[in-house]
């Protein structure tokens, strides 16, 4: 196996472990820590896929802003410090549903090439040209969406709501 493949394997395993752990631990703050590691791991995968801009973006947005946001959320809704609020336990039906979904998605594997393939790398300039050129409208839409989200969030959390 080449170095990239090993790296991929490690990163994949880490991603899975952190994701599952984030959902299963008792302590909510621990969840945040686990999920932060998860985001960083995804970022590394992006780097592996020759998408450095994306990797940096992931680090900045997810591992940075989203994690902090989640932490704020946890802080603001806690009744007391270090309380155990996360529910544990695994119900049968959702587990079954999830597994079945997994099977369905994965059965399409048979139609894909099994061996390793090469990956291209791109100049970030090209990426920005594409992003703001062909896919520019999407970006604009995103901006509008964000504006609406900000307004809505402020409205939702304002005082005076019962």
């Amino acid at each position: 196996m080449s170095l990239e493949e090993v790296a991929f394997l490690v990163l994949a395993v880490v991603a899975l472990i952190t994701a599952v752990a984030a959902l299963l631990v008792r302590e909510l703050v621990h969840t945040i820590l686990w999920i932060a590691v998860f985001f960083v791991d995804i970022s590394a995968i992006y780097f592996l896929l020759q998408a450095p801009f994306l990797g940096v973006l992931q680090l900045g947005v997810y591992a940075g802003a989203v994690t902090v946001l989640l932490l704020f959320g946890v802080m603001l809704t806690r009744k007391r410090i270090f309380s155990r609020e996360a529910a544990t336990g695994v119900d049968a039906v959702p587990l079954a549903l999830a597994l079945v979904t997994f099977i369905f998605v994965v059965t399409s594997v048979g139609e894909l090439p099994q061996s390793s393939q090469t990956i291209q790398s791109y100049d970030p300039t090209l990426l920005s040209q594409n992003l703001f050129g062909v896919n520019g409208p999407w970006l604009l839409l995103l901006g509008l969406l964000m504006m609406g989200a900000v307004a809505g969030s402020i409205y939702l959390v304002r005082e005076g709501r019962e």
């Binding site: 039906v93 959702p94 549903l97 999830a98 079945v100 979904t101 369905f104 059965t107």
Partner: protein, 661 residues
């Protein structure tokens, strides 16, 4: 000249219909002066005038058929069962037999109405009485004048309804209410058969004479009658139709085995008995048979059945009259018996002769009932064994009853002799070609003796002797003039009606009706031997009655006599009523209970089952809504999986199957 009046025949039912409406609606306001009664009498009188004029006109110039009709339903020609269109009509037909009946109905109707003023004087509910009687007269004259089978049936039913009302006039008496119900239900059995007969005729004539039904089931085509037998067709179908018609007539005319309601119908006022259960309504059955035999046709099998039922009933009813203590019921059985004679005559093919007896019978039977009513009005009881010696205090009534009795017994020159002898001769003339008639002829002949016996037993019990048997009986006296006049008039008719036979106009009237049946009438050449024999039997019956009951004697059958069981059998009317009650209670009621069970548990059960199923289902489904978002997400995922399944598994399979096929 009088035939200009024929087109106005509809006035006869119309007058009494007006009376029905007026007295029915405003009668309570007329109660104090009893105007309601007089209004009804006036309208009945107007009807009578028109009716009698039309009758006389037809008798003077017989043989014409005048049909005035109005089409009330018309379907244009269209493909289907009636390619040339279909119409229903209502109209009046004046022809020899309807003219004869019209005289009977209107005259007796008027006289009874007049008599009622006196007889019902103290009763309650009088406006109801007069309006119901008027309605009855409307229905009866409508029936007589009907020009098509459907209209006939309509009035037939209406007559039955009026009978129900009038029998149950004293509705607070349970026996009266149940008698009315019994009358209606038993005649209903007949009516259903009649209706079936109409259906079968419809079916039969749709192949043989398609125009008949399409033109409204008419009796004539304007100038001559339809003749089912002459037109041919399937004789089995025709026979069955005839049997059905016989069934209807047997119901209405109280022939065996549907005779049970008539004696009980005596629960109604005596005037009602006189009008509808002696002279008119029960005659409708005979009229139906006559009309059918002249216009639609009976097969020889039918004729045998009719003669059989008629002859048997004549004897059968007479036996029951022999022992009965109630004066009205004796007369009622007499009616059944005499109707049997008429039915027998029509069955033998001599419809006009039968109707002639109907004509005379109406008068003397009404006379008998009204005379009995006079007695009842005076002494307050109907039990013959309590009466006695009334001839001293009620001369007119005694004479009237005697006249009626002599007419009934068939003693010349009273009316009953002419008509009853004509019947006997007519049937006798057919014995050669129809030997099966013999037993019934003999039964009818024997009934002559019994008839004379029972009616004079009644007379002697009531009128002879010196004093009443029951000392507590009220002092008797004649009724008011409104009751006496009808008695006098009817007595005259009971004597004179038979003598009409000698009128040439009347002769040809009888002939013209009879000629249609294709059998030469025997009328006019009565067999003297038969006449002599029947008169002898009649006198013998009267003599026996005098022996046993005359001069105040009471003949009591010894307790140990062998005839006692027979007497009990006769008194219990051969246990017919008990038998029918048993059939109804056990048979019909069981069926009704089974049907109720089925309806309640099976049909309702199914509906309730659906109810409960839906309630259960909705209850279960409601629990899906937990309000918990995770559950809803789970449902979404489940749906997603289903989608995957369809797309990845089912669709390629289906495509492969469709593509390959």
């Amino acid at each position: 000249m009088l035939d200009g009046l024929y087109g106005w025949a509809f006035l006869v039912p119309l007058f009494t219909a007006l009376s029905f409406v007026i007295v029915g609606l405003a009668g309570t306001r007329m109660r104090r002066l009893e105007w309601g009664g007089w209004v009804a009498v006036a309208f009945a009188g107007a009807s009578m005038v028109v009716g009698v004029l039309i009758g006389i006109g037809e008798m003077v110039n017989p043989g014409t058929y005048t049909d005035v009709r109005y089409t009330w339903l018309h379907l244009a020609p269209a493909p289907g069962p009636f390619p040339n269109g279909f119409s229903l009509v209502v109209g009046t037909l004046v022809d020899p037999i309807s003219a004869l009946m019209l005289i009977v109905v209107t005259v007796v109707g008027f006289l009874v109405m007049l008599y009622s003023i006196g007889y019902m004087h103290q009763d309650r509910g009088l406006p109801r009485y007069y309006s119901e009687i008027s309605l009855f007269l409307t229905a009866m004259s409508g029936l007589v004048l009907a020009d098509n089978l459907l209209e006939f049936f309509l009035f037939w039913e209406l007559v039955g309804v009026c009978s129900y009302f009038l029998i149950g006039f004293y509705y607070e008496r349970p026996s009266a209410a149940s008698a009315a119900k019994e009358a209606f239900i038993v005649t209903r059995v007949g009516d259903i058969m009649f209706l079936l007969g109409i259906f079968i005729y419809f079916y039969h004539y749709s192949t043989v004479a398609p125009g008949w039904a399409a033109n409204g089931f008419l009796f004539t085509n304007g100038t001559a009658p339809y003749l089912g037998a002459a037109l041919g067709g399937n004789s089995t179908t025709l026979t069955i139709a005839g049997i059905m018609i016989l069934g209807g007539a047997a119901g209405k005319s109280a022939q065996f085995p549907l005779h049970v309601w008539l004696p009980d119908a005596m629960e109604g006022p005596t005037t009602v008995s006189a009008l509808i259960h002696a002279a008119t309504m029960v005659a409708a059955g005979v009229y139906l048979l006559a009309v059918t035999s002249l216009f639609l046709g009976f097969t020889s099998t039918d004729q045998l059945a009719i003669v059989g039922i008629g002859g048997f009933t004549a004897f059968f009813a007479a036996t029951m009259a022999v022992v009965h203590p109630d004066i009205k019921r004796v007369i009622a059985y007499s009616t059944i018996s005499q109707l049997g004679y008429m039915v027998m005559a029509v069955g033998a093919g001599f419809a006009m002769v039968g109707l002639f007896h109907l004509f005379t019978h109406a008068f003397f039977k009404a006379l008998l009932f009204l005379a009995a009513g006079s007695v009842i009005h005076a002494v307050g009881t109907q039990d013959l064994f309590k009466m006695g010696g009334l001839r001293k205090s009620m001369r007119l009534t005694a004479v009237a009853f005697a006249v009626g009795g002599l007419a009934l017994a068939g003693i010349p020159p009273f009316a009953g002799f002419w008509s009853k002898d004509d019947i006997l001769s007519a049937v006798y003339s057919q014995l050669g070609s129809h030997p099966a008639y013999w037993p019934f002829f003999l039964l009818a002949f024997a009934a002559v003796f019994l008839t004379a016996y029972y009616i004079f037993r009644a007379w002697f019990l009531a009128f002879s002797g010196d004093h009443a048997r029951d000392p507590g009986l009220a002092h008797a006296h004649e009724g008011p003039w409104t009751m006496q006049v009808p008695l006098v008039l009817l007595s005259a008719l009971a004597i004179g009606a038979g003598l009409l036979v000698f009128l040439p106009g009347f002769q040809s009237l009888l002939l013209s009706g009879a000629g249609a049946s294709g059998i030469p009438p025997v009328y006019g050449t009565t067999d003297l031997v038969i006449s002599a024999a029947s008169v002898t039997l009649g006198l013998g019956g009267i003599a026996l009655a005098w022996l046993l009951w005359g001069n105040g004697r009471v003949y009591a059958l010894p307790e140990t006599s062998a005839a006692q069981p027979v007497r009990r059998l006769l008194l219990k009317r051969y246990y017919f009523k008990i038998g029918y009650d048993w059939i109804g209670a056990k048979g019909v009621y069981s069926v009704a209970r089974a049907a109720d069970f089925f309806d309640r548990y099976v049909i309702d059960g199914t509906v309730h089952g659906f109810e409960r199923m839906f309630a259960l289902l909705s209850d279960r489904l409601r629990r899906i809504q937990t309000g918990v978002v995770s559950d809803y997400a789970a449902y979404v995922v489940a749906g997603l999986i289903a989608l995957f399944a369809i797309l990845l598994i089912v669709a390629p399979y289906v495509v492969a199957r469709l593509g390959g096929g």
